[in-house]
């Protein structure tokens, strides 16, 4: 974070006072004063999430209700399909999907979750992009839809193998949910929107709740012995191990969904030959790349040594090559793996598993292998108990 960023007035989430009370170390993030870690620190918080349940404040993220002026959710879905290469029309009530806002060149404006709430669509977008996402939605969809930022809502994530046990003690019905289900449910008498999803690779839930009720919910969750508060530091190391992209690092306006290895987000119905092929921003470039491949690709990397290889490190095909062929976009330490890991963009010819590249770190060329992602197995609950 820069000095300049820390000088501007930072916004607070509804849980700010709780973070301070819990002894969090606060840092500026996307214009918010956010907990980077609590007292135990990043290592313990990461491992706690993988072994029990971690509670994350993600209220800085944007929650946006998209409603068709006609009142019909399928009209909102049809409208949104002009901005994302997903099958939104085919998204069932109570289901959620990961997708991307694309620009006219095929680059990524943001990554987001979209869910069908029955009478409207609910979008969850990145904190740093929410203002531009809202403007984009208004500019492109205002004739057909209303765009309502849910600014009075908090969002908390409960992640880890014991998340279901913890949350079901308050809301037994969450047991019946599977990965990417979204339900409106009362938690401690408070109406919430719960999705079975997250950003850690673990099973877990994200809970949208009215801002004034968020702290009481968190205090109740934290009283459970399995639950600990987790900061942004571990959130980043957890998502990196899970192979998940961070917008602004691994995705930006110059990376296409195909280059980003996110083809799986584009279903057959939106591809060439599909019933609703194309029709989204940047379709020409993206469909062409789906058919013929892209010049570069996002890959996972594992350094052969112990030294972490961080964002910005240049990659080379050989130890003595003068010209770099790619660059690390996220890199750090995989705490559960007890080894350094990274993500990078490299030429597609160098993107196959076990390709050895060299990363330049402090003037030295360190061997690093292309490695399949996720780095640790995901534990999403894809079928109900």
């Amino acid at each position: 974070m820069s000095e300049a960023e820390s000088n501007v007035a930072l916004r607070h989430t509804p849980l700010h006072a709780m973070h301070l009370r819990l002894g969090a170390r606060m840092v500026p993030f996307a214009g918010y004063d956010m907990p980077v870690q609590y007292v135990p620190g990043v290592l313990k918080e990461h491992l706690h999430t993988r072994s029990a349940a971690g509670l994350f404040d993600v209220s800085h993220m944007g929650q946006i209700a998209l409603r068709a002026r006609s009142g019909r959710v399928e009209d909102a879905a049809r409208a949104l399909e002009a901005l994302v290469p997903a099958d939104v029309l085919g998204l069932g009530i109570g289901r959620q999907r990961y997708t991307l806002f694309t620009n006219d060149a095929g680059g990524v404006l943001d990554d987001l979750m979209v869910s069908n709430r029955g009478d409207h669509l609910l979008l969850v977008v990145n904190a740093a992009r929410k203002a531009s996402d809202e403007a984009h939605l208004r500019e492109r969809l205002s004739e057909r839809c209303t765009v309502e930022p849910l600014t009075e809502r908090a969002l908390v994530a409960l992640q880890g193998p014991r998340a279901e046990e913890v949350l079901s003690a308050l809301v037994p019905d969450v047991r019946a949910m599977r990965f990417m289900d979204v339900r409106a449910m009362a938690v401690m008498g408070e109406p919430c929107v719960i999705s079975r999803s997250g950003y850690t690779g673990e099973d877990g839930f994200e809970i949208g709740i009215a801002a004034p009720a968020a702290e009481a919910l968190c205090e109740t969750l934290l009283r459970h012995a399995a639950v600990a508060p987790i900061g942004l530091g571990a959130r980043d190391s957890l998502r990196l191990e899970a192979g998940l992209c961070l917008y602004g690092c691994d995705l930006d306006e110059t990376t296409t969904p195909v280059e980003a290895a996110l083809e799986w987000t584009i279903p057959a119905v939106r591809r060439t030959g599909g019933a609703r092929a194309g029709g989204f921003a940047g379709a020409e470039t993206i469909l062409q790349q789906l058919a013929h491949g892209a010049p570069r690709r996002r890959v996972g990397l594992r350094p052969e040594g112990r030294a972490p290889v961080r964002c910005g490190a240049e990659l080379y095909a050989a130890e003595g090559d003068p010209a770099a062929l790619g660059r690390v976009t996220s890199g750090g330490f995989g705490v559960s793996l007890n080894a350094p890991i990274a993500m990078a963009y490299v030429p597609t010819a160098h993107s196959t598993t076990d390709t050895r590249l060299y990363a330049e770190v402090r003037g030295k060329r360190l061997p690093i292998l292309v490695f399949p992602m996720p780095f640790v197995p995901t534990r999403y609950k894809r079928s109900p108990a």
Partner: protein, 120 residues
């Protein structure tokens, strides 16, 4: 008696050999360390030159030679177990020892009180 730098290294003299590490304040700010890279024995550094690297989950930080001199020993234990730097930053978590070229450079470092004022 420890001496300190404004960059949060400490130094302990024994004859003309200085043992160097990072301060409790520095380890607390950095958080859990996961990687330590130490210089080779025999390398010579001038005061203020990057001599070692310590890395947390989130970031890498340089450790500067507090004074000029030659590396005469490094602590392999912290390479194998970086968390030792967090647990005992001025004890078993020391990083390297150097033979000091110019004792006047040691005298110019911060004493405990001056460093305490710096970090409050």
């Amino acid at each position: 008696m420890l001496k300190y730098t404004k960059d949060h290294e400490w130094l302990r003299m024994d004859g003309d050999v200085a043992t160097v590490g990072i301060t409790p304040y520095a380890q607390e700010k950095l958080g859990d360390l996961v990687y330590v890279e130490l210089p080779k024995v025999g390398t010579t550094f001038t005061a203020g030159a990057a001599a070692a690297t310590v890395e947390s989950v989130k970031a890498a930080s340089e450790v500067y030679a507090p004074v000029g001199g030659e590396i005469v020993a490094v602590n392999d234990k912290v390479v194998a177990e970086p968390g030792l730097v967090n647990a005992q930053p001025t004890g078993d978590g020391w990083l390297f020892r150097m033979k000091v070229g110019n004792a006047a450079e040691v005298n110019a470092l911060l004493d405990e009180l001056a460093y305490k004022v710096l970090t409050e």
